[in-house]
């Protein structure tokens, strides 16, 4: 049928394209290095910024202002936003570009030894889990830097609260034990954050790709393009959500 285009559904586990010295290199890895190369070109291109901007610089500054405004709104102050912007802003740009790079025609049909050469980085659970772990470790580290190591651990294991409570009264001591249990729960919720952040991004991107292939197989005219336009929106939303959740977690970790 000319109305249908069949495609292969990618599996959850990315396949290795090359295996130099038995070390598997997947298409995800190749494409993320390509994106990093692109970002490095962007850095080199912005070395000579002028006070009076030309067209391209105005565009870049507008994008910068939008991302910075988002982070500043969620962290609550410009000073904090400036501190975290190098990491969280680049996370945003990386996720956005990797969500959008699959829309370049032909990039997904390049193949090597009968296997797709490139695969969207965010379409791989390893990448998204890595990004989530990186940002959560950064948040932990900045909390340690702000409060010191012992009071940072004291945020999770609240033994001091029990001691202070029992010196005050019995009911305050029981409340202290309650607080201690809640603090232990916080450790679990920190781990759950890493899983939920990464699964959200991965699930959205993977489901988007699988659904595109299914819709192509059902009806190849007009309908897939509508779905892909929706995919452009959801790619942006996922990048925004990842960045804003990470900045909310940062704000929660360093406030008080």
């Amino acid at each position: 049928m000319f109305l249908r285009i069949s495609g292969t559904q990618s599996s959850i586990q990315p396949e290795a394209v090359f295996q130099p010295f038995g070390w598997p290199i997947s298409g995800t890895c190749l494409l993320s290095w390509l994106i990093i190369g692109l970002l490095i070109i962007l850095i080199l291109a912005t070395r000579h910024l002028k006070l009076r901007p030309n067209r391209q610089q105005t565009l870049l500054e507008m994008i910068y202002g939008l991302i910075f405004g988002l982070i500043a709104q969620l962290t609550g102050s410009d000073q904090k936003a400036k501190r975290v912007f190098p990491l969280f802003g680049s996370l945003f740009v990386f996720i956005l570009i990797s969500n959008y790079i699959a829309y370049i025609p032909g990039i997904s049909s390049l193949s090597w030894n009968g296997q797709a050469l490139f695969r969207t980085p965010t379409n791989d659970f390893n990448t998204t889990f890595g990004l989530a772990l990186l940002s959560l470790f950064y948040i932990q580290w900045s909390s340690i830097r702000q409060f010191g190591l012992f009071s940072h651990i004291g945020k999770y294991i609240k033994l001091a609260g029990i001691w202070r409570g029992f010196r005050q009264s019995l009911s305050a001591g029981l409340m202290g034990i309650m607080e201690f249990a809640i603090g232990l729960m916080d450790i679990v919720s920190e781990c759950a954050r890493a899983i939920s952040l990464s699964l959200r991004l991965f699930g959205n991107v993977f489901a988007g790709e699988v659904l595109t292939i299914i819709i192509m197989g059902a009806f190849a005219w007009l309908l897939p393009s509508t779905w892909m336009a929706m995919g452009l929106l959801s790619g942006l939303v996922q990048a925004v959500v990842f960045t804003s959740l990470v900045s909310v977690y940062y704000t929660l970790a360093v406030s008080e």
Binding site: L70, Q73, G203, A207, V237, V241, S244, V248
Partner: protein, 66 residues
């Protein structure tokens, strides 16, 4: 049996859709009452929607894993 499990997975999408509908509807209600905070509200609404949607995403991941 495998398809039955997949079908059970898809059941969780319905409640999530209802929840998201309530969330977005309430947010728009608030924006309509108070248009000055609309810009501020929109970003928070998107974040909330994404959080609510994560349940559906877990179910979707299970769906593909099964």
């Amino acid at each position: 049996m495998r398809f039955l499990a997949k079908a059970l997975c898809t059941l969780s999408f319905g409640p999530v859709a209802i929840g998201e509908g309530i969330l977005i509807g309430k947010a728009f209600e608030a924006m309509g009452r108070n248009p000055e905070i609309a810009g501020d509200m929109f970003g928070k609404m998107i974040v909330g929607t994404a959080l609510a949607e994560s349940t559906a995403i877990y179910a979707l991941v299970c769906f593909f894993l099964l």
